[in-house]
Each structure stands twice: as structure tokens, then as C-alpha cells.
């Protein structure tokens, strides 16, 4: 396996009595699409929040691209090329779709202590932003104020913002949630296109998509990885079927 892009060692996080991440150890190889699945409340979002810096772990370490980032603030991780999308839509509602994405581009284009130049005329922000919107199929909605977009469109915008910065690694928290079949299909295609170039940690309950995309799958239950392996192995595992997939769900 290639040099891991992200190494998680003995990560632990508890909320009061709930242990949301329980001595988790996990590697994500460079260029790999690694899916994390597991029942609701297994600690998937909590994991992503710790990786992105929104939550601080109680103990354990996280290394990203050869550096220990365990205690780094979120913006610094983002700068190093770690981008996340949110499970619950998180955008800038008063900006247009294009402004939303352009802001993400700007965040990675040096500092923003520039007080005089009109950003809306800066091609080096606008062009990549448009490209990212096009990639998720929102180009026609570029000038719509984000607040006025539908739920599914918000999800697409969310991904565009994560993509716009050409990150080394994407943390995607249920990108397909709320998308219709057609949009889901589009998203699978997008992710397929990224595969190989980019390292991706994907959380998703849409098993169709997971089995079509993932190089490796880790199953999380009560904060522990109960299984990890290639899609076929996971699909075959009785334990996983019992804990997560359910008996009669056809995939």
C-alpha cells in the first residue's frame, strides 16, 4: 500500500458517558477512497469533526500528509489541504452560489488581508469557482442567493465548496443525503472522477454508492472499527450484516 495520507492512532473521544470514538486506529492510503459506514450514532461524524479540527480528541493522534495535526486549529488543517463537507448543510446563505465557492477558493489563495480590490472582479477566484460549480452541476444556479436554493442544491453546493480548493484529501459526510436519484448518480460520477487523484474519506448510508466507489470500507460500531477491508469482504461479513446492513436490505 502507498504511504498513508492519514494515520489515525488510538483516537478517543467521549461525551459524558457516551464514548463516540473508542481507541480507533485507521489508515487512509494516498489516492484511496475509503468509506466509513456504520449505524446511526456510531461516531462517524464525530470522527470527521476530529479530523477536521472542529472537535478536539480526548487522546490519540492524527497524522496527515506526514505531519501531526492532532491539535491544529481547523483553518490550519484546511490550509494543509484537508477539506470537509458537512452532514448538516453549512453554507453562507446570504451569498450567491458562486460567492460561496469563490470564498472557498480565496481561503486557499494566501491571506485575505486585502482591503481594496473588488473580489468579484478577481478572475483567479471566480474562474476556479465556476469550474467547481460546473462540476457538481450547479453552473446554471451560480448567481442564485444560496438561501433560496432547495435542499438538494445545498448539498451540491456543499461539495463544490470542498472541491474548489483542490484539496489533498476530502472528508465527505453523507454527500448524497437528500439528493434525488439523478443527483446521487451525478455525485457518484463526480467521486469516480476524483478517484485516484484525491484521497477521500467518505461517510455514506447509500450502500449502492459505497459499494460502487469504495476501495476500502471500515465499519464503525459504537466508536470501534469492527471490520475493515475490501467491499466484497464487508458485504460478506455476517457481523456487518447484523450490525448495519440488516438482513433483508438488498444491495
Amino acid at each position: 500500500m502507498a504511504e498513508p495520507m492519514m494515520e489515525i492512532r488510538a483516537l478517543r473521544k467521549s461525551f459524558g458517558g457516551v464514548v463516540a470514538t473508542d481507541d480507533l486506529t485507521l489508515d487512509v492510503g494516498a489516492g484511496e477512497l475509503h468509506a466509513v459506514i456504520g449505524p446511526n450514532g456510531a461516531g462517524k461524524t464525530t470522527l470527521i469533526s476530529q479530523l477536521s479540527g472542529a472537535l478536539m480528541p480526548d487522546s490519540g493522534t492524527i497524522r496527515f500528509d506526514g505531519r501531526d495535526i492532532t491539535r491544529m486549529p481547523p483553518y490550519a488543517r484546511s490550509r494543509r489541504g484537508l477539506a470537509r463537507s458537512f452532514q448538516i448543510t453549512s453554507i453562507f446563505p446570504e451569498f450567491t452560489a458562486l460567492d460561496n465557492v469563490a470564498l472557498a477558493v480565496q481561503a486557499h489563495d494566501g491571506h485575505s488581508f486585502s482591503f481594496f480590490r473588488d473580489v468579484r472582479r478577481e478572475a483567479r477566484l471566480r474562474d476556479p469557482a465556476r469550474a467547481a460549480l460546473a462540476r457538481v452541476g450547479l453552473e446554471a444556479r451560480a448567481e442564485v442567493t444560496a438561501r433560496y436554493m432547495s435542499h438538494g442544491e445545498h448539498r451540491q453546493l456543499e461539495i463544490a465548496m470542498a472541491l474548489a480548493t483542490n484539496p489533498k484529501m476530502l472528508l465527505l459526510d453523507e454527500p448524497m443525503a437528500g439528493m434525488g436519484p439523478e443527483e446521487s448518480g451525478l455525485m457518484v460520477d463526480i467521486l469516480k472522477g476524483l478517484k485516484g487523484e484525491q484521497t477521500i474519506l467518505l461517510i455514506e448510508h447509500d450502500m449502492d454508492a459505497v459499494f460502487r466507489l469504495a476501495d476500502r470500507i471500515t465499519v464503525l460500531v459504537y466508536g470501534r472499527a469492527i471490520a475493515s477491508g475490501a467491499p466484497e469482504e464487508i458485504r460478506a461479513s455476517a457481523e456487518v450484516r447484523h450490525a448495519y446492513l440488516g438482513e433483508d436490505e438488498t444491495v
Partner: protein
Amino acid sequence: MALLNARNLVVLATFALLALAPAYAAWVETPFYLDLGRRMMILAIGALSLNLIMGFGGMISFGHAVYIGIGAYTVGICAFHEVTSGFVQWPLALAISAAVALVFGVISLRTRGVYFIMITLALAQMTFYLGISLDQYGGDDGLTVYAPSDFAGLIDVDDDLSFYYVVFVLLALCLWFSQRLIRSRFGMVLQGARQNEGRMEAIGVPVFRYKLTAFVIAGTMAGLAGALLANHTDFVNPEMAHWTRSGDLIIMVLLGGMGSIAGPIVGAAAFLLLEELLSGVTEYWQVIFGPFLILVVLYARGGILGFLSRKDGGDG
């Protein structure tokens, strides 16, 4: 959006009125209008600066008058110690307000929302009580500024008319600066942080630094208003930093229309004009002014400018 919509017209008209007020005052031989106009513009600078952090950055400071007070006291104390050169006083006023804003910002920007409102209020009240205990500078009686700022003959601040235009030009400069600022990268970060701070961090922006910078810029601009106010009233006093004054500034911003750059100017003008007109009608003028504010909130969302742009069919 058309350039000449009602909203821009009101802003232009306000500026035209302010520009021509001295001529009118001279014509009707009522220099009082000069005084009124000047006070309007000075407070407009204060309101403009507050709007930068409040309207665009979502930081509702209930202590913004402090920086006006500090700017004013700097000039007053300089004059008291017979340092009358404006080239010393004014930059010093800006520097000290900036420094205080930096310290207060570092303390208060750890908090959000209402907690932020209250901590800025607390810091302001401490400053206010400090001013009251400054016995050597008159305590709450305040300090008379015996000599106006002296610009070595370049500008005569003691002359009502030339001082008027100094203020006018400074106001225009502040407006222009704010306009550029809001549309810059910095402005985008500021506004983005208001809408969704967590996301801002997640896309890689250390929000605190930007908010702090905005806080200091606004404090400095308010400090300028303070330096002007000291020369306008020839008198400084802790009252200038009282929380009710910060409240007045907030009202001006809201009245004019928060989030539009020129709104505070219209708001300051409307606030002072209404106060002047209504108090001429009845000594119980607040019985009218109070409900007027309520009506503005209920029926003119987004203040005066918001109201006008909606009439225009703009998208708000």
C-alpha cells in the same frame, strides 16, 4: 440594479444637502444649521464605523461610543497639556483608539452573540467609570478644550466653515473606504464569518484575526469621529462613552439600514433631524419618537434605505 434607484437617490441627496448646507445657512443667516450638519456628519462617521463590524461582521458592539470617547479625550487631554498641534493630536487619537480596540477586541471576540454584546458593554462601562474618576481631567464634569487642533495654518478647525468641509471630506473618505473594504477579500471574509463562522474556519480562514482586524478598523474610525467631536463641542466628558451613546449609534445604524454601506449616514441624519424637529414641537417628543422607531421596525424592514429599495422592487 439601476444606478439611480430611490435608495441611491436618498444617499446622493443626503450628500448634496450636506454639501450645500453651509450655503443655505449663510443665506438664511442661521449658522446653527452648520453646527447641526457637522454634528450629523461626525456621528455618521461613528455610525458608519459601527456598521462595519455590526452590519457586515455581525459583531453587535454595545460599547462603540467608547472609541469616540477615547478619540475625544485624547484631543482634550493633549490640549489640556498644551499640545495643540493637530498633527500630533489626531494621529494619537487614532492610535490610542486602535490600541484600545485591539485590547478590547482580544478580550471580547472570544464570545458570540449576546455574550459579545454584553462584554463590550461591560468594557465600555469600565471605561466610563474610569473617565468619571479621572479627577485631574474634570471627572464627569469633563474637560474644556481651550484651543482647537492646530494644523499650522493648513486647515483652520476653529473656522466653522472650513471645519465643516474638513468633516465633510473625511466622511466621504470613510464612506469610500468602507465601500472598498466590503467588496474586498477582507470584506468577504468578514461577511462570511457573520453568516457561518464554523464553515469559514473549515474552509481555512482563521476567523478571529479577521474579526479582530475589523474591530480595530472600526474602533479607529470611531476614534476619528471622537477627535472631530472634541473640536466640534470644544468639550469632552465621559458621557460621550456612556452605553446610551453606544445605543444611539446602534439606533442610527438600524434606522438608516444595516448592511447597506451608506445606511448609517442616512440614519444619523434622520435621527438628529427628527430629534431636532420633534423636540421643537413638544417637550414630550419621545412619545412620538418611540412609536416612530417601532413603526420603522415593523413596516420598514432594513431601515430607511431598506424600505426604499423594496419600494424599488429590488430583491432586498
